[in-house]
């Protein structure tokens, strides 16, 4: 009996000891869901996956808050820190929508922290690529070219927002000296231009690569940055080399910008999209066609199965369609659309004032939903009220019995009134009317980073800077002809104004205007109180739009706006200044 117990004890002890020796190795586990550093750089497929992630840092322009709501394009009705920006009362510690922690905005494409994380991703790739598992030199060059393009793109966003920034090309370790100061504006421009050129040299000459960077994209980026460098804001800022050129030859900068644009034009790969007969339809489809076409240089694509969080119809559409009316066009933008004959719209002209949506630039109809415009069939509860699918932003319509009814797509309407816009206009550009946006269905229309029209406009602007007005007019008129608008013949200051308006209209909502008004140094002119439209009408049948008459239009105030010169640049976040004593804040913050 006792022996048996002793044996059992011994067996238990031995078993434990044996078990433990096996266990000791069992503490050497590896994560089951991650890939090691060494494995990644040996495997071309994994390197590609790594590169794929970096592209996401370019983001896109169709988040819930659009950049247009920070300038005189749209009014974002839900706040989210946009009011502080249009009132120019942001500071380094309270930067409104530019502050950390705001989601659903395009701002992460420009925000200090996220962009530098992306730049580090590129730096890691460039550090490892030469000794990697990609043995084919062409393939390797492709990856490198894309990486250089991405690095140039990220820095160009930083440049636009902050001016000169620390140029970081190495992969820092924790114990490195991390207190890096800012490079000058000029150094930053030169760096981006060189990066873009390196990318262009490495990348294949092909018009487009369905989402990836190409030589054309790199050259278009270079042209954009050189145009920025030649602009007023930086050329007239000699006091602070972090945010402008202290001197130098501005004409040479215009020349470089023009040549860079010309390089893209001379590739012969791109031309303006002109596939639809009707100019309204043509400009609409330019943005809605999925896939790429002759005008597109680079895009960001989406797939329905991925549910990318891309739903501009829901975010911006009318509340009468159960959409959220987020970014709503303001009256000042509507007024800047020319008449179809090329003359300016004028509230002082009784004919214009009586029927403001008649005979306008075709792009107006393709970009903006206004009262009386056909959009799409309403969802059931709206269709019962308004069966024709026509936008109603009138304040009230008076019926024969004297009763008055509010427009369905206003804040007085019966459907989600609090989600109604103030301005009387809704976004049309990029919105696919074949989709009921109020459901979880998402549209998969791509976002365009670079298209040929911008290159032509960049070329025109540089030409004006050089006084080569004929070239400018020719480029502008190409765009106007495609848009269904008559040619211009202006010269001098008038040409410059005309050009700026053309760029405003053609590139509207495409994340250009916010930067353009800064580099043109016209903040104080455009940051004025935002206006909308007040519309009254009479009708014999509320549901039949053809019976409406006696419209009365009056521009009204909708949002407080203002300007301070410090808003030409975004403040470097207060936290970052506290971390790094070598960082100099932007002027007047």
């Amino acid at each position: 009996m006792k022996n048996y117990l002793n044996t059992l004890t011994l067996a238990l002890a031995l078993g434990t000891a044996l078990g433990l020796s096996a266990c000791n190795d069992a503490l050497n586990l590896n994560p089951l869901d991650q890939i090691s550093d060494a494995a990644l750089w040996e495997d071309p497929a994994l390197i590609n996956a790594y590169l794929n992630d970096i592209y996401l840092g370019m983001r896109h322009g169709l988040y819930e808050v659009q950049l247009g709501s920070l300038v005189d394009e749209t009014h974002f009705i839900h706040g989210y820190g946009t009011n502080e920006v249009v009132q120019s009362i942001t500071s380094a510690s309270a930067a409104g929508v530019w502050s950390n922690g705001r989601t659903n905005t395009p701002i992460d494409a420009y925000r200090w922290g996220p962009v530098y994380s992306r730049i580090r991703q590129v730096n890691i790739l460039l550090q490892n690529i030469d000794d990697s598992g990609i043995e084919d030199e062409d393939l390797r060059n492709n990856v490198k070219g894309e990486a250089h393009f991405l690095r140039a793109y990220f820095y160009h966003n930083l440049l636009r927002a902050y001016g000169g920034v620390p140029i970081i090309t190495e992969v820092y370790a924790l114990d490195d000296d991390l207190l890096v100061g800012r490079n000058t504006f000029e150094e930053t421009v030169d760096f981006i231009v060189a990066e873009a050129q390196t990318a262009a040299d490495l990348l294949p000459m092909q018009p487009r690569n369905l989402g990836r960077a190409t030589e054309g994209a790199a050259l278009a980026l270079k042209a954009r940055v050189l145009l920025y460098a030649a602009s007023d804001l930086y050329s007239e800022n000699p006091a602070n080399e972090l945010v402008g050129y202290p001197g130098g030859d501005r004409t040479a900068r215009w020349r470089a910008a023009k040549n860079a644009a010309l390089d893209v034009m001379n590739m012969g790969l791109y031309q303006l999209y002109n596939r639809q007969g009707d100019p309204v339809e043509n400009y609409t489809q330019l943005f809605l066609e999925n896939g790429d076409h002759e005008e597109i240089i680079m895009s960001r694509f989406f797939l329905e199965e991925r549910g990318d969080g891309y739903n501009p119809g829901l975010h911006n559409g009318p509340n009468g369609y159960r959409n959220w009316a987020g970014n709503t066009p303001i009256q000042q933008l509507v007024d800047d659309y020319e008449m179809a004959d090329g003359t300016e719209f004028d509230w002082g002209n009784p004919e214009h004032a009586a029927d403001p949506y008649e005979n306008r630039d075709p792009r107006f109809y393709a970009s903006i939903l206004y009262d009386g415009a056909y959009f799409r069939p309403r969802p059931p509860e709206g269709a019962e009220i308004e069966p024709q699918g026509i936008i109603q932003t009138f304040e009230e319509v008076t019926l024969p019995d004297g009763s008055k009814r509010p427009g369905l797509d206003t804040r007085d309407g019966p459907i989600e009134d609090w989600n109604g816009g103030y301005s009387g206009y809704y976004l049309r550009k990029f919105i696919d009317p074949s989709i009921n946006h109020s459901t979880s269905e998402k549209q998969i229309v791509p976002w365009r980073f670079f298209r040929y029209a911008e290159v032509l406009l960049n070329y025109a602007e540089a030409s004006i800077g050089l006084g080569e007005e004929g070239d400018a007019r020719e480029a502008i008129n190409q765009i106007r002809r495609r848009a269904g608008m008559p040619d211009i013949n202006d010269t001098g200051q008038a040409l410059l104004e005309r050009y700026r308006n053309e760029r405003r209209i053609e590139l509207v909502f495409e994340e250009h205007r916010y930067w353009d008004v800064r580099r043109w140094k016209i903040g104080s002119e455009v940051y004025e109180d935002a206006q909308g439209i007040q519309i009254l009408a009479e009708a014999t049948n509320y549901q039949d739009r053809s019976t409406y008459s006696n419209y009365q239009y009056d521009p009204i105030f909708i949002q407080d706006r203002g300007w301070q010169d410090r808003a030409y640049f975004v403040p470097i976040p207060n936290d970052e200044i506290q971390r790094n004593s070598n960082l100099v804040q932007n002027p007047d913050y």
């Binding site: 009996m1 869901d33 530098y116 970081i168 369905l210 459901t439 936290d575």
Partner: protein, 1040 residues
């Protein structure tokens, strides 16, 4: 569109049937079978000497039924009957009988040839005499040198909470509980031992029957299965080494005792309701505030005075509703039911405790889809194979069945908080009204009309233990233990469209009734997502124990080794575009846009531990504890750590000189401990440079994978170390009627694993790993005093007050070097925040002009203090508030009394020193607190206490955190109350019952606080959460 619950789910029906009778018979019959089986196990021995007698309570002279009587050193035993009488055949007339009964001191009586032995049992002393469960063993309270709080399971039963964690509130000194939600299935409390001690994870280690960190935790254990809960608060927890730094909660379940089978049945029925529902503004006030918003924006008013009056007077329920959203959505009360049954008993050879439990709990919503059902069983069997060999086999199983609507409680309560009082929840004809957005009308989203979210979790936990008393060496024993736990989870999320009705406020039909338009909301077509997860946890250990008792001196040594391995894997599948909502199975969904994903993790730990105890005359006590612990979380060189602790005790009352000097003190012990424990609760593998899969990207119209670097590796990452010092005193006086215990602690947590992101510039682009960089000191005290009055009379009374204070200070961590002095967090408690100081409201423009203000400030805005006096209000004016949502003071008063057949138990619980930020999502998209509306500034009321109506986050004083919205949450509440009545024995015996008790009580019955807006334990800043529960309960329990 409306779908009923899936026809395959029969459990609700079963449960309903069970609680409505026929199957109720199953329980007794099941118990009968078990009882018969158990009875059959009783040994039959040759009898030599017969003893009879009566056992009474020394207290009141009443006979005690169910007292265990064993012949010492044998397997022979019996127990007293209902009259307290027994009859026992002992092997010889020279044997000794051992009498034991719960709550009474064990008594031995030598037979000495007597035929009748009557015994009077003494009540056990309060506190000092008890056996306390400590790591890998038990100790007598009197010789304990560590700081351990313990509570017995029968106390926890008194709180009618569905969740065990909530029953610990206020029970034990030094324990902080915060119950942040009452949602069935997620209504637990976060438990902290001596407050927060680290910047990372502060949750204590939970050890259930010797197995650390068992899946499912303690929340869902059946309180009636709990023998005791011990909390190791100081370095004595070092026996659990690397996971002990936040304290250890040891839970021991009941086991069988020698005696005849004892059956218990308990059934209780409760109703629950929210402790507090926020009061929101009414329709007239709300639309008035909307008008004010327009006025501040320079826009014309949206509502005329006439319309506002119509809302105020509710002239027309169609046109001018005045909706109380909470009232429309929530029932006045919901039902909860709990039933349990157990049988326990045994012989010297086999002891058993077997129990079954079931409970069901309904949600607050009217027609609630939220419901929690649970079924559990436990079987703890001890078998004495030979004199020296004991085998224990424990098995427990549990099914947790959580049912929810497809919209989360957070979403539904968010819409309740936002609920606009001028919109109808239901139209007067009974159809559901419109949503604020996303179809989320809360009266609908709390029901099963939107589909269902069913989450079933299965736990199977087993423990096999072999204990050997080595016969050749006296005092040497070994135990080997294998615990295998298996966990599985099946979740099914079936999301279907639902209908809401809107009206254009214009169209009427021929009879003059408004024409409503119904529209489908939610997903366009039904969609289904399913998850399947499994986990396994295997623990093996081997422990040697050696104990020697000499006349003056005794010592014991424990040495053990333990290995634990856990694995987890799971996958999920999704399809949408179901052709119909009639079949909620994956195959019936469309193949387009289907989605699949999966994941897996694994972990392992290995450790060696030891405890040495020395005891001189039970006067001087000394204990060493050490654990050498290895974890897969850290790199090879840093993997193992050694965690030692030493503690000592001095029982002054064992000194003659002391006893002579201070006679009224029955017991006085001083003890002190110091030691180190570790914390490894961080993401594993931070020493490796790894890449994880991101969300992918789209090139060439195809989905391509994407990879990103998780973080830069930290090759030196290792344990967080808790240096724990504790000094305590335990005393009993006034004939052991008063028991006092007080501890002071001083902990220094070093090598805290935290990020250096406050000082590393973002330009580096680094995603940082955790580093061993933080240092936090915590100090405080906790203690309890118990008064017990139970001599002689029918009246018994016991009162315990416990109180704990814990505060902490960051000694070192990463801070931005350029931050102003007054904002530095080093030197402040952890997790504090920076707030602008709201010092009032600008009553008019003159006041705005006269004080530095935020750009764009206007009358009615909050005044932020210009703290640094530079004439500008900016981030530098924020100050650090040294309070967090973690209370510094916690305590409870526990009263229990009995008089004859009646008994009463009451627990008051309170917490102080915490603050909560609370700010509603208000403006045109949501309602305001009534209190806020009442106090607001308007041009007509310029001297108002509160700021003007605000729109979402548009005002600077909404977007920037400030002290106006920071509220004191000190509270005292009647946490639980139970009154019981025991049927007189002469009645119960007529039914053949040992006893029958009827009881009623409640949980969270009364609350005193100044928070007022919501429950003071609310931890959701916008109030969008499922509120805490108040329970009224009625129950019956019987034993036979």
């Amino acid at each position: 569109m409306r779908t009923l619950r899936t026809p395959l789910d029969v459990r609700p029906v079963l449960l309903a049937v069970f609680f409505r009778t026929p199957l109720k018979a199953l329980f007794p019959s099941l118990l009968l079978v078990l009882g018969l089986w158990a009875t059959g196990l009783q040994d039959v021995h040759a009898q030599d000497h017969t003893v009879t007698g009566t056992v009474i309570s020394a207290d009141d002279g009443a006979p005690l039924p169910g007292v265990n009587i064993v012949v010492k050193g044998t397997v022979t035993g019996t127990s007293t009957d209902l009259e307290g009488q027994y009859r026992l055949d002992a092997p010889s007339a020279g044997d000794t009988l051992v009498f034991s009964f719960v709550g009474y001191q064990v008594q031995e009586a030598p037979i000495d040839g007597r035929a009748v032995i009557n015994v009077s049992m003494q009540l056990a002393d309060v506190g000092i005499g008890e056996i306390v469960v400590v790591g890998y063993g038990t100790q007598r309270r009197e010789t304990l040198t560590g700081s351990v709080s313990a509570v017995s399971g029968d106390k926890l039963e008194k709180a009618p909470s569905i969740n065990l964690a909530n029953t610990l509130s206020g029970r034990l000194p030094g324990i902080v509980t915060i119950n942040t939600s009452g949602e069935p299935g997620y209504d637990g409390a976060t438990i902290r031992i001596r407050g927060n001690n680290t910047l990372g994870d502060n949750s204590p280690l939970i050890v259930i029957d010797g197995v650390p960190d068992r899946s499912g935790g303690l929340d869902r254990l059946n309180p009636r299965d709990i023998e005791s809960v011990s909390i190791l608060k100081d370095a004595s927890a070092a026996i659990y080494g690397s996971r002990a730094a936040n304290g250890v909660i040891l839970i021991t379940t009941k086991r069988g005792r020698i005696g005849k089978p004892r059956f218990t049945l308990d059934f209780n029925q409760g109703v629950n309701q929210p402790t507090r529902i926020p009061e929101m503004a009414d329709a007239a006030t709300y639309v008035t505030m909307l008008n004010e918003l327009n006025e501040y924006r320079g826009l014309p008013p949206a509502y005329s005075e006439e319309e506002i009056d119509n809302y105020r007077n509710s002239t027309d329920p169609w046109l001018y509703p005045n909706t109380d959203w909470f009232d429309e959505t929530l029932k006045p009360y919901s039902m909860q039911t709990r039933a349990s049954a157990s049988v326990s008993g045994g012989t010297d050879a086999v002891k058993y405790y077997i129990s079954f439990g079931g409970l069901t709990e309904d949600g607050y919503y009217r027609n609630s889809a939220t419901r929690y059902d649970q079924y559990d069983f436990r079987s703890n069997i001890d078998g004495r194979i030979t004199e020296a060999l004991t085998l224990s086999f424990d098995v427990s199983g549990r099914l947790e069945d959580r049912n929810f609507p497809t919209q989360s409680a957070g979403a539904t309560f968010r819409m309740l908080m936002r609920g606009k009082p001028h919109l109808p929840a239901y139209w007067p004809n009974g159809l559901p009204g419109p949503d604020i957005e996303n179809g989320q009308n809360p009266v609908v989203t709390g029901t099963d009309v939107t589909g269902y979210d069913q989450d079933d979790r299965y736990y199977f936990q087993s423990n096999l233990k072999l204990a050997i008393d080595v016969p050749s060496i006296e005092g040497l024993s070994f135990t080997g233990n294998v615990a295998i736990d298996q966990f599985a989870r099946d979740r099914k999320f079936w999301n279907t469209p639902w209908l809401l009705y809107s009206w254009d406020y214009e169209t009427y039909d021929a009879e003059g009734n408004p024409v409503l338009n119904g529209a489908s909301r939610g997903p366009t077509e039904p969609e289904l997502r399913q998850w399947s997860e499994t986990g396994r946890d295997i623990l093996t250990n081997f422990v040697g124990n050696f104990q020697r008792d000499m006349s003056n001196f005794s010592y014991s040594a424990l040495l053990g080794v333990e290995y634990q391995k856990e694995t987890f894997s799971g996958f999920t599948a999704y399809r949408r575009n179901f052709v119909s909502d009639q079949i909620d199975q994956l195959f019936a969904g469309g193949r387009d846009l289907q989605d699949l994903s999966g994941s897996a993790t694994a972990g392992s730990r290995l450790n060696f531990f030891s405890r040495l105890n020395f005891d001189y005359q039970s006067k001087y006590l000394l204990e060493f504890v050490g654990r050498y612990d290895g974890s897969y979380i850290f790199p090879k060189g840093e993997r193992f750590g050694f965690f030692p602790a030493v503690s000592a005790g001095w029982r002054l009352t064992q000194e003659n000189w002391f006893r002579n000097a201070v006679g009224f003190i029955d017991e006085l012990k001083l003890r002190v401990s110091w030691g180190q424990t570790g914390n490894d609760r961080i993401d594993p593998y931070q020493f490796l440079g790894t890449y994880a899969f991101g969300g992918g990207n789209v090139f060439d119209n195809t989905n391509v994978p994407s990879l990103f670097q998780t973080r830069i590796p930290n090759p030196n990452i290792t344990w967080e170390v808790a240096n724990q010092f504790d000094v305590g005193i335990e005393a009993a006086f006034l004939n052991n009627r008063v028991f006092l215990e007080v501890d002071y602690f001083n902990n220094l947590r070093t090598d805290i694993l935290h990020f250096r992101n406050a000082s590393v510039p973002q330009t580096s682009g680094l995603s940082l790993p955790r580093e061993n960089i933080g240092e936090v000191a915590s100090t405080g005290f906790d203690g309890s005093v118990t008064y017990s009055h139970n001599t002689g009379s029918k009246f018994q009374f016991e009162a315990t007050l416990n109180l704990g204070y814990a505060d902490n200070e960051i000694k070192y961590w990463d801070e931005p070097p350029g931050a102003p002095e007054w904002q530095r967090s080093t030197g402040a408690p952890m997790n504090t925040g920076l707030f602008y100081q709201a010092i009032g409201v600008f009553s008019d423009q003159a006041e705005v002009d006269s004080y530095p203000h935020w750009e764009g400030a206007r009358p009615g805005d909050l005044i932020f203090e210009d703290v640094n006096g530079d004439g500008v209000i900016n981030a530098d004016d924020r100050v650090r508030i040294n309070k967090t949502d973690q209370p510094k003071w916690n305590g409870g008063i526990n009263l229990s009394a009995s008089y004859g057949a009646f008994d009463l138990s009451m627990l008051f619980q309170g917490a102080a020193g915490a603050v909560q930020y609370i700010q509603t999502q208000s403006g045109d998209f949501g309602n305001y607190f009534k209190e806020y509306a009442d106090q607001r500034w308007t041009p007509e009321n310029p001297d108002a206490e509160g700021p003007r109506a605000f729109q979402r986050e548009e005002e600077y004083w909404i977007a920037n955190r400030n002290t106006y919205f920071l509220r004191n949450t000190n509270y005292l509440r009647l946490k639980s109350l139970e009154v019981g009545f025991n049927l007189p024995v002469r009645l119960t015996e007529r039914f053949g019952l040992e006893h029958l008790r009827v009881y009623m009580g409640g949980f969270n019955l009364l609350t005193w606080d100044k928070f007022k807006l919501m429950d003071p334990e609310a931890r959701n800043e916008s109030g969008s959460y499922y509120p805490q529960k108040r329970v009224f309960n009625l129950g019956i329990t019987t034993a036979f």
